[in-house]
């Protein structure tokens, strides 16, 4: 009894003290949902690992990252953003990894007035900037940007006819559409279009059909190690034309699985893939190497992966926008702060990150330009920068 009488005020004071920092601190909360499992795990895992490298303090405020996995499932991604906005009151959401999940998340982002930065490639997430898309930003290059880079390279290599084999999903669809547009504008005809699925064990039928059309070049529109299957089959069946890949193939595991068959293939990629080979004058070299060094210091040499770069870039966007939003006087955790953050994200200018230089505007929430892609060729099992293509 005696003891408790002495201790009670002390305890109360301690409790109040413990509660105080929570009440007054302006900690910034960043919600993250990535596809660390499921079909897009090869993209989601490096993205998830990159979160640990993102700034822990921005504009003098500490940053808390809440990371959730959506298993490459659209429903789960929506549940995650609901939880992040409703329970955790995050100021911004990063994710998700794939386009369908990101598209569905934009509605929740707009409804709750939370800016989101998607790590998925499709331009549909942010274009046109109206309705719920006002709250959506994204860091990866648009497929159209990459397709035009490829079309330019094809013209330089005197390609007149092109064969296409892509994933039988949104990725393949989007690429077929973009590539057709970009190629036909340059007078290149797409003569055959075939599809395959990620877990397929054979693409013999599709490859035979492509070969029968005798195209000068063939584009494989897939991502991660599955790109190796058509590549190897084409080489095994004696295809002599130029094989192109998309930036989905920019992954060291592809070279491991593909082996010699991948030598000579050409792909557009973010400058991150060949950061150390870029000339010093390149505006992206320094910022790309910063990510490479940070990642490899934590996860080991050679572990870096271009997909993780998209998460890093999302972090860089936040890093630039949060101090601007704080200046508006709004406190983190309030709707006013989230609106200020959205406006600040929209006004990010000339931000050099790992995958290019961002210039956001009220009509462009992707923000990357031609500095955001390079043409890369695989020479002797190594990514080699091709400044002339």
């Amino acid at each position: 009894m005696e003891l408790s009488r002495i201790f009670r005020p002390t305890l109360m004071a301690a409790a109040v003290l413990a509660a105080l920092p929570l009440a007054v601190s302006a900690q910034i909360k960043v919600g993250v949902t990535v596809s660390a499992t499921g079909p897009a795990a090869s993209l989601g895992i490096p993205e998830q690992k990159t979160v640990a490298l993102l700034p822990q303090k921005i504009g003098g405020e500490s940053v808390q990252y809440i990371v959730l996995d959506d298993a490459t499932d659209t429903t789960q991604a929506v549940k995650n953003i609901r939880k992040l906005t409703a329970d955790d009151h995050v100021d911004v959401v990063l994710g998700s990894t794939v386009t369908p999940a990101s598209l569905a998340m934009t509605d929740v982002a707009a409804e709750t007035g939370t800016p989101m930065v998607s790590l998925a490639a499709s331009a549909k997430i942010v274009e046109p900037v109206d309705g719920p898309r006002k709250w959506a930003f994204k860091t990866p290059q648009n497929d159209a940007l990459m397709a035009h880079a490829l079309a330019d390279a094809m013209v330089k290599q005197h390609i007149k006819t092109l064969g296409f084999i892509g994933f039988s999903d949104a990725y393949g669809d989007s690429w077929l559409q973009e590539m057709k547009g970009a190629a036909e504008a340059k007078g290149i005809k797409v003569v055959a279009a075939e599809r395959f699925a990620r877990p397929d064990t054979s693409v013999t039928g599709q490859v035979l059909k492509l070969l029968a059309a005798h195209p000068d070049g063939i584009l494989i529109a897939a991502s991660g190690t599955p790109v190796a299957l058509p590549q190897r089959e084409l080489v095994d069946r004696g295809y002599k034309g130029q094989i192109y890949q998309t930036h989905g193939a920019a992954n060291n595991d592809v070279l491991r699985v593909c082996g010699k068959a991948c030598n000579g293939m050409i792909l557009p990629a973010g400058p991150l893939l060949v950061a150390s080979q870029l000339p010093d004058s390149n505006p992206v070299k320094k910022s790309a190497l910063a990510y490479v060094h940070a990642y490899e210091a934590k996860y080991g040499a050679g572990s870096v992966n271009t997909f993780g770069g998209h998460m890093w870039d999302a972090g860089q966007l936040i890093n630039r926008a949060v101090p601007v939003a704080l200046k508006s006087g709004a406190k983190p955790g309030t709707p006013a702060f989230r609106t200020a953050l959205r406006d600040a994200l929209e006004n990010v200018k000339e931000l050099s990150a790992s995958q290019g230089v961002f210039n956001m505007s009220p009509t462009d929430h992707a923000g990357l330009d031609k500095r955001g892609r390079v043409i890369v060729k695989v020479v002797d099992g190594k990514w080699t920068y091709q400044p002339d293509l």
Partner: protein, 345 residues
């Protein structure tokens, strides 16, 4: 389409069909003896292929640790039931296969992953890692509910499938792997080159089918399995242990799965979740035989393989749709044609 293309597609279809046939046979076998629709069959394909791929790349596969963990669990479960029944006579045998074997494999794993180990030895080692998981899964998951209805067993199978896929992602990562070819070289037959690996797959399929035929026709254990398949209660009445039968079946199923995985890993890229789709196609094949007939399942598998190969040429965006839609007319035809098997025999 000319003759060359048709022949190449035929070759491709037969090759894939052979793998589906093996998995279809394993599915039929497991269903007949234990009434389990063994959805995780495909995971053994993945585990076998990727364990070998990891060893070939100088890494210790996570399956070694998993085997040890499952072995310890099996020992504990067996100890509990032995203590309840006060019968410790069979326990040393459990200790040997469920504890000693995984321990030895765990210790030897870095050696098997070392430089200069012949591929054949690695194949044997990877098989030794994956095959005991079959009976262990049976002991841990299915044996406690062996009297449950087919539906309950099916739901458990789905759970096991998800658990194994998750573990596969944990052990092997999200990216795909390939293994070196078991046999190199190719043979020109007419206008088409056949790789030696293709022959290896076909030869092994035939060998396994032949082996199973002899096993079921000539050996005591095989006949015991058949008896259990025909009538579980009757088999028990004449002294056949359905538990031993179940354990044996799962061993066979795991062996067939792991071996199939190693055969195709040299031809195609295997991911942590590839097995499921291969297993599903084996399942479509097994449905051809109504889950009870081996020859019909094998024929169905060949048909699925060929259909897949030709539809990938004609209509590649609809390939999977075509293969899986096939199950509807087959089910219709079977529901008219065959006698309905009552669940509680």
């Amino acid at each position: 389409m000319d003759l060359t293309i048709a022949l190449i597609l035929l070759q491709d279809g037969i090759l894939n069909g052979a793998i589906y046939a093996l998995l279809g046979l394993a599915l039929v076998l497991v269903f007949l003896v234990t009434r389990v629709i063994f959805i995780p069959q495909g995971e053994f394909v993945t585990f076998g292929a990727l364990s070998l791929a990891f060893l070939a790349n100088g890494k210790v596969p996570g399956t070694a640790h998993l085997l040890l963990l499952m072995g310890v669990l099996v020992c504990l479960v067996e100890a509990f039931s032995a203590w309840r029944a006060r019968r410790w006579r069979g326990y040393p045998r459990t200790l040997v296969w469920a504890l000693l074997l995984p321990l030895v494999l765990e210790v030897l794993a870095p050696l098997a992953a070392g430089q200069g180990v012949p591929l054949v030895l690695r194949v044997v080692f990877a098989l030794a890692l994956v095959i005991p998981m079959g009976p262990m899964i049976y002991r841990l998951v299915y044996q406690p509910v062996e009297q449950a209805s087919v539906l309950v067993l099916l739901i458990i199978s789905v759970a096991v499938h998800f658990a194994m896929t998750g573990l596969g992602l944990l052990f092997f990562g999200a990216e795909g792997w390939r293994t070196p070819a078991l046999v190199e070289g190719s043979i020109q037959l007419g206008p088409v080159a056949w790789t030696a690996q293709t022959f290896a797959v076909l030869a092994l399929t035939l060998l396994l089918i032949g082996g199973l035929w002899i096993f079921f026709g000539r050996t005591l254990y095989g006949r015991a399995l058949r008896a259990t398949a025909v009538n579980r209660r009757g088999a028990r009445l004449v002294g056949i242990s359905t538990r031993v039968a179940g354990s044996l079946t799962f061993t066979l199923a795991a062996a067939i799965g792991a071996l199939s995985g190693m055969l195709i890993a040299a031809i195609t890229t295997i991911y942590y979740d590839t097995g499921f789709i291969i297993g599903l196609k084996g399942f479509v094949a097994a449905i051809f035989g109504g889950l009870v007939s081996y020859p019909a399942a094998a024929a169905g598998a060949l048909f699925v393989g060929l259909l897949e190969s030709f539809s990938s040429f004609w209509a590649s965006p609809f390939k999977e749709a075509i293969v899986f839609t096939l199950i509807i007319p087959v089910l219709l035809w079977r529901s008219f044609g065959s006698v309905h098997l009552d669940e509680d025999d």
